[in-house]
């Protein structure tokens, strides 16, 4: 296997290998099927680049995270207020709780993860227990009827324990960057080992 790095974007093979490849390409009959040697069309290249950029942009770790206990802290506190406790109807009480918490930093997350009074009654004692312990509620996820320690990894606290919050950047992303780089490097090397795309085979059979 001979290499030629004089014009790596044209071909990485030496002239003799390219000539042998061209002869084989034109001579060989693959069950009556032939192939051309067109370059990747520019729109295809651009679409692939756009796909890679989009892949990282739309899967950014902070998009679409699960609800953590902190977003419901306001709801739990509101349940204990006289205004809410005075309301007998669950639906009306829930509306009041939502209204009392409007304008906070968790508005969007609360809209995406709405709760009913029955859900709140189940998670309320669990969140209150965590508040009593003085832990960071953002490190706990609400999964169905349970409030559990989140399984995020990434950042480490000063005391050496892992921070259980969604990091703005994570290990999976880092692996992806290298993975994608290796992939495109190998594919570019592979296709640049072919005869230059300026040459097209003549299909005579």
């Amino acid at each position: 296997m001979s290499w030629n790095f004089n014009k790596p974007l044209v071909t990485m093979c030496d002239a003799a290998t390219n000539e042998a490849d061209k002869m084989l390409w034109e001579k060989e009959n693959l069950g009556g099927i032939t192939e051309d040697n067109h370059r990747m069309p520019m729109p295809v290249v651009l679409l692939v680049v756009l796909t890679v950029l989009t892949a990282f942009a739309v899967t950014f770790p902070l998009w679409g995270q699960r609800p953590n206990a902190a977003i419901y802290e306001g709801y739990v506190k509101a349940m204990n207020t006289p205004e809410v406790q005075a309301i007998q109807d669950d639906e009306a009480a829930m509306k009041k709780i939502v209204q009392m918490n409007l304008g906070g930093k968790y508005d969007e997350l609360l809209e995406r993860h709405p709760l009913g009074m029955n859900d709140l009654r189940i998670i309320k004692p669990q969140i209150e227990a965590l508040m009593a312990k003085g832990v960071d509620l953002q490190e706990y996820n609400v999964v169905g009827d349970r409030v559990v320690l989140a399984n995020f990894e990434g950042n480490v606290k000063a005391d050496g324990t892992p921070e259980r919050k969604q990091p703005w950047w994570d290990r999976g992303y880092t692996i992806d960057i290298f993975y994608v780089m290796y992939f495109f490097t190998m594919v570019i090397v592979l296709i640049k080992r072919l005869p230059p795309s300026t040459w097209q085979p003549k299909h005579t059979h």
Binding site: W25, I33, H38, T54, N151, E153, Y179, V180, F183, H203
Partner: protein
């Protein structure tokens, strides 16, 4: 066919295994879609066939899924491999006898597997529902013999190079064995919890990504250049397609479990890879469309080209959906709804079925040297399949969005069921159209074998005009 099972390999006519596989595939397609239509009727009309547990939805759903995946789709693939692999190597199939036994054992194993599923004996793991003895049977008596025949045929080729289609065939039969043995390991080794969940979806994802998707695409790489007579547009794009399937399709299994307590970094990794599935899709669709240059009239005139190009075009919405629906931002809404059922049918009944149907149409005519009996029936098959599938896909996508809203905003379940009812009826109508089309197809191919005009030596069926 059965008389050749004990004949000497050299006495078996070339293409016998492909014909056996081809007709088996169509029959399983009729059975699989018939079961699908029956199951859909049970969702549309809850009082339809009640009182017998063997006709309960829970017993029959996985029988439909497995009949379609391992009966129709996989046997159509085997059919394509049995005649395309040797054709591309200018040689004969390594062993017609192995192919015939392979097909017989495949039919027996699948019948056994579906019977136990119907009886309620199941692993309980979606897409890998067969109990472990059936999994081992399928690995050792179905996929390994198929792989041996494909590999040996490629090794014994009379060409120096290997055409793109055979790259995909050779690697897909290898990958499906690995997927089967590793993906079912929770059953072999009693793995539970998250490990089981992850491997269940690793299996389900890769049966699609490393078996169905690449083989279906490989078929198009053969059908379009062969029937149109055009060279494949770009060998380079073929490389990009092949390697991006292997690299980007094998990794995102975790995106099926975005709400499970898997490590979050694994989900982030899988989610990026999930969008990158668009890379092989772009490569595949562009290469096939550019190969059609100057021959677009065949999209109207030729049934194999029409099926293939329709399947290719479906790869665009399929991968747009697949790429984005798994991201955290969208998955929270549509996960566990009919949207996913619609997407799965877009992959299996849309994209891959149309490509395989072309291969079976072309292959059976070529091997039997008989021109298609009736273009009219084939046209009806095409339109019933396309219209039926479209009704199904659109109705289930809408139903999924309703379910998603119901799930997030805690709408009482029975209200969601009522809201979905019209779409369940549409689903049943769509599925039944597909089933009807397949009965016509079986009749058409049977009549092609019996009464199709003989194709002269040295000619291809698509070179002759249609007669009916």
């Amino acid at each position: 066919m059965f008389k050749y099972l004990f004949a000497k390999n050299e006495d078996i006519p070339a293409g016998s295994a492909a014909v056996f596989f081809g007709f088996s595939a169509i029959i399983w397609f009729v059975i699989g879609t018939g079961l699908g239509s029956f199951n859909a009727a049970k969702l549309a009309f809850p009082d339809f066939v009640t009182g017998n547990i063997y006709f309960a939805f829970g017993h029959m759903r996985q029988v439909h899924v497995m009949a379609v995946i391992f009966g129709w789709i996989s046997m159509a693939f085997a059919m394509a491999m049995m005649y395309i692999t040797p054709a591309l190597g200018n040689t004969k199939l390594w062993s017609e006898k192995l192919g015939l036994w392979n097909c017989l054992l495949w039919n027996l194993g699948l019948t056994l597997g579906l019977t136990v599923l119907w009886a309620g004996i199941t692993s309980g793991r979606e897409y890998s529902d067969f109990p472990w003895p059936v999994d081992l049977y399928l690995a050792f008596f179905v996929f390994i013999p198929l792989a041996v025949n494909v590999w040996m045929t490629i090794l014994n080729r009379r060409t120096q190079g290997i055409y793109t289609t055979n790259w995909f065939f050779a690697s897909a039969v290898f990958m499906v064995i690995i997927v089967f043995l590793v993906g079912n390991s929770p059953e072999f080794f009693h793995l539970t919890g998250l490990t089981e969940a992850y491997l269940t979806w690793w299996f389900a994802h890769n049966v699609l990504g490393l078996w169905i998707t690449p083989v279906a695409a490989a078929i198009a790489y053969y059908t379009i250049p062969k029937v149109t007579g055009n060279p494949l547009y770009s060998h380079r794009i073929g490389h990009l397609h092949f390697w991006s399937v292997v690299v980007f399709y094998s990794t995102p299994a975790a995106h099926h479990l975005m709400s499970a307590p898997l490590p979050e970094w694994l989900k982030s990794f899988a989610s990026v890879e999930g969008v990158l599935i668009l890379v092989p899709a772009i490569a595949f669709v562009s290469n096939i469309m550019l190969t059609m240059k100057g021959k677009w009239h065949m999209f109207v005139e030729n049934i194999e080209v029409r099926f293939t190009i329709t399947g290719c075009l479906m790869a665009i919405p399929l991968n747009m959906q697949g790429g984005f629906q798994q991201t955290r931002a969208i998955n929270w809404y549509i996960h566990g709804t009919g949207w996913i059922v619609a997407h799965a049918h877009l992959a299996l009944l849309g994209f891959s079925t149309f490509l395989e149907a072309a291969a079976v149409y072309l292959g059976l005519q070529t091997i039997m040297k008989r021109k298609l009996y009736s273009l009219t029936l084939a046209n009806m098959h095409f339109w019933l399949l396309l219209i039926g599938f479209t009704i199904y896909w659109v109705s289930m996508t809408i139903a999924g969005l309703i379910q998603g809203a119901g799930k997030i905003y805690e709408v009482p379940y029975i209200d969601v069921v009522i809201a979905e009812h019209p779409y369940m009826i549409a689903r049943w109508i769509g599925g039944t159209l597909v089933f009807t089309g397949n009965i016509l197809w079986l009749y058409n191919m049977w009549m092609t074998a019996r009464k199709g005009t003989e194709v002269p030596e040295g000619r291809m069926p698509h070179e002759l005009g249609y007669e009916r």
